[in-house]
């Protein structure tokens, strides 16, 4: 009696698990670079989640007895000018990086794709006006636009997310619009309109799912860029503020001043930034190859 449900249970569970496993193995075999990227991202996410357990020190705890200490057994990656442990700050810094990265990418991609699809759907004068407004935003270099938004809103993680998302909106909107233009001509959109569905239903339920591939590609590209931009803003003191652990912030001030005698302060946080963005870029490239057959050669 007990044996039959057990085997049935096992059968229903093992089938999807095996398929998942096969998909993962396939992905690793076909796109080794993408798999490396995914591994880096997973390690980073794991570090962010478990930072509280694995970090050897409190990232904010100052130790004036061990200022600018070289890497040793007590402090694997050394300490900074306030005696704070560099390794712990890098581990906690991954939280800031992921928070800002995902926040800005999701925000930018969401608004960008809604504007892009809406613009393509309504066409005519609305499309024209939206495109002209986007042109205006395009004429600003990314960092100048982000800096202006920071000046308006103030510094801090939440505002930095908004500042980084702002220049991403028009770029996402332009790419999504061009895909949405062809979706708009599909018979199912006509059919939906013939059924008397509202604009928002057609946009959200019929068009948006069909332009998901470019949106996902843009969003993963934004992730890496957002992490870089956050580091840049924090580095010039207009991003995340002390004493929060953030990679860009760790490169600021003393890290440059004492670079000659204490290079660990300047080297390790920068490595963390590069590695994280490298991982997201590798993964994003593979994702684009997988999702967009037209671009497969890239």
């Amino acid at each position: 009696m007990a044996a039959t449900p057990h085997t049935v249970d096992e059968l229903t569970q093992s089938a999807p698990r095996a398929r998942w496993f096969a998909t993962i193995v396939n992905f690793i075999r076909q796109r080794p670079l993408g798999a490396i990227g995914a591994t880096i991202i997973l390690v980073m996410i794991a570090a962010a989640i478990t930072a509280g357990f694995i970090a050897p020190y409190d990232p904010l705890a100052t130790d004036y007895g061990a200022m600018i200490a070289a890497p040793s057994r007590a402090h694997w990656l050394g300490t900074d000018a306030f005696g704070r442990d560099v390794l712990s700050r890098i581990l906690y810094g991954s939280r800031t990086a992921l928070e800002v990265g995902f926040g800005a990418a999701i925000l930018g991609a969401t608004f960008g794709s809604l504007i892009g699809v809406g613009s393509a759907y309504f066409a005519g004068r609305i499309d024209l006006i939206v495109q002209r407004v986007m042109d205006v935003f395009f004429a600003f270099p990314v960092i100048i636009l982000a800096l202006t938004v920071v000046a308006v809103l103030g510094t801090g993680a939440g505002n930095v997310i908004l500042a980084i998302a702002t220049p991403m909106v028009p770029r996402c909107a332009r790419v999504v619009r061009s895909s949405a233009l062809s979706v708009r001509e599909m018979p199912y959109v006509d059919a939906a309109r013939a059924c008397g569905f509202g604009h928002s239903r057609i946009i959200l339920r019929h068009m948006l799912p069909n332009v998901m591939a470019p949106i996902l590609i843009m969003a993963t590209a934004f992730l890496g860029e957002a992490i870089l931009l956050e580091a840049s803003l924090s580095f010039i003191g207009l991003g995340v503020q002390e004493p929060t652990a953030a990679w860009g912030l760790m490169l600021r001030g003393a890290a440059v001043e004492f670079a000659e005698t204490a290079p660990w302060m300047a080297i390790f946080p920068g490595l963390a930034i590069s590695l994280a963005v490298f991982g997201f870029n590798l993964f994003g490239d593979s994702l684009r190859d997988a999702l967009d057959p037209r671009l497969r050669t890239q």
């Binding site: 004429a139 270099p141 938004v149 840049s232 000659e260 994280a276 490298f278 890239q298």
Partner: protein, 318 residues
């Protein structure tokens, strides 16, 4: 073609007007103004409401927003940027040397990037899926991932530790002392150029791969044409267009977008000037900088489109 050029030039006007309105409004939304910023740095003993009102009146900040905007626009139409609210000197003077520096850096970085990107991209495409291809791709993805400012710090650090030498930190214009000038600017140009070349390399590789699959390349190969000749005469000419677009757009952004790298190398370029101007709430200078950078961007875009028609005879404009 003539009509097309005129049309394109005319289309810039509403975009620039939009940029002007946007930056004008954004600046007024930022809390505080130049008078407050100045008294804050000079200490509170100067702070009296009367003095501040007097100062605001002198700068025209007590006028209505509409009046301020039209005055600014009227000045712009005569190519008169006005005076900096912070220093009081003409904005043209403030910007001149910094513009020269930023432009030279942008040109050097983009030359370096192209020298690196085009051959690497071609090599990776020709040797697709070999270890060379993988190495080039990893090199270029790493370029996109490395923050230029950190690369700059590492460069200075390496030179300091290995050669006990630091590049000069005071800007010398090229026409004063070319050697000194290059010794300073080559490093930031390299730091920025690496990232910039990565964008180009990836584009070059994918465009080249696409072109190499075309029939006319197979024909050229079948008739026994030299590979080098096929690549340079047949393939490169057709593949270089998208690379040109991507690299020009990047170039346009380099002019005002090097805020952070400039800080590392202690360069007083337009990016640093922008950060200073906005922290001083220097409305006139910030506005002028944004308009300059936006106009530059639009013109680069415009020249790219014209160059398309010139390089590719299949493109005709109405």
């Amino acid at each position: 073609m003539g009509i097309y050029i005129l049309k394109r030039l005319a289309a810039m006007v509403p975009t620039l007007l939009g940029v002007a309105v946007l930056i004008f409004v954004l600046l007024r939304v930022i809390p505080g103004d130049v008078v407050e910023a100045r008294y804050l740095t000079q200490g509170s003993q100067f702070q009296s409401q009367e003095l501040m009102d007097q100062e605001r009146h002198k700068l025209g900040l007590d006028q209505s927003l509409w009046k301020q905007f039209t005055t600014w626009m009227a000045g712009l139409a005569r190519l008169d940027f006005g005076l900096s609210m912070w220093t009081g000197s003409p904005i043209t003077e403030e910007i001149k040397l910094r513009f020269a520096l930023s432009l030279q850096l942008a040109v050097m970085a983009s030359l370096l990037a192209q020298v690196l990107a085009i051959p690497l991209g071609i090599l990776a495409a020709v040797k697709q899926d070999s270890w060379i291809d993988y190495a080039v791709r990893v090199f270029s993805i790493a370029g996109l991932a490395t923050p230029s400012f950190w690369l700059g710090i590492l460069m200075i650090l390496t030179m300091l530790i290995v050669f006990h030498w630091v590049p000069p930190m005071v800007f010398t214009p090229f026409w004063v002392n070319p050697w000194e000038n290059l010794a300073q600017l080559i490093w930031p140009a390299l730091a920025v150029g690496y990232r910039y070349s990565a964008v180009g390399t990836r584009m070059m590789r994918s465009a080249m791969l696409e072109v190499l699959r075309e029939d006319y390349i197979r024909t050229a190969r079948a008739k026994g044409l030299w590979l080098k000749l096929i690549l340079t005469r047949h393939a490169l000419k057709n593949a270089v267009l998208p690379v040109l677009t991507v690299m020009s757009l990047e170039f346009a952004f380099l002019l005002g977008g090097l805020v952070v790298t400039e800080q590392v190398f202690n360069l007083n370029g337009l990016g640093m000037l922008f950060v200073e101007a906005i922290s001083h709430r220097d409305y006139t200078l910030t506005q002028a900088l944004v308009m300059l950078v936006a106009t530059f961007f639009l013109f680069v875009n415009f020249f790219v489109d014209i160059a398309y028609a010139w390089i590719d005879p299949r493109i005709r404009y109405r």
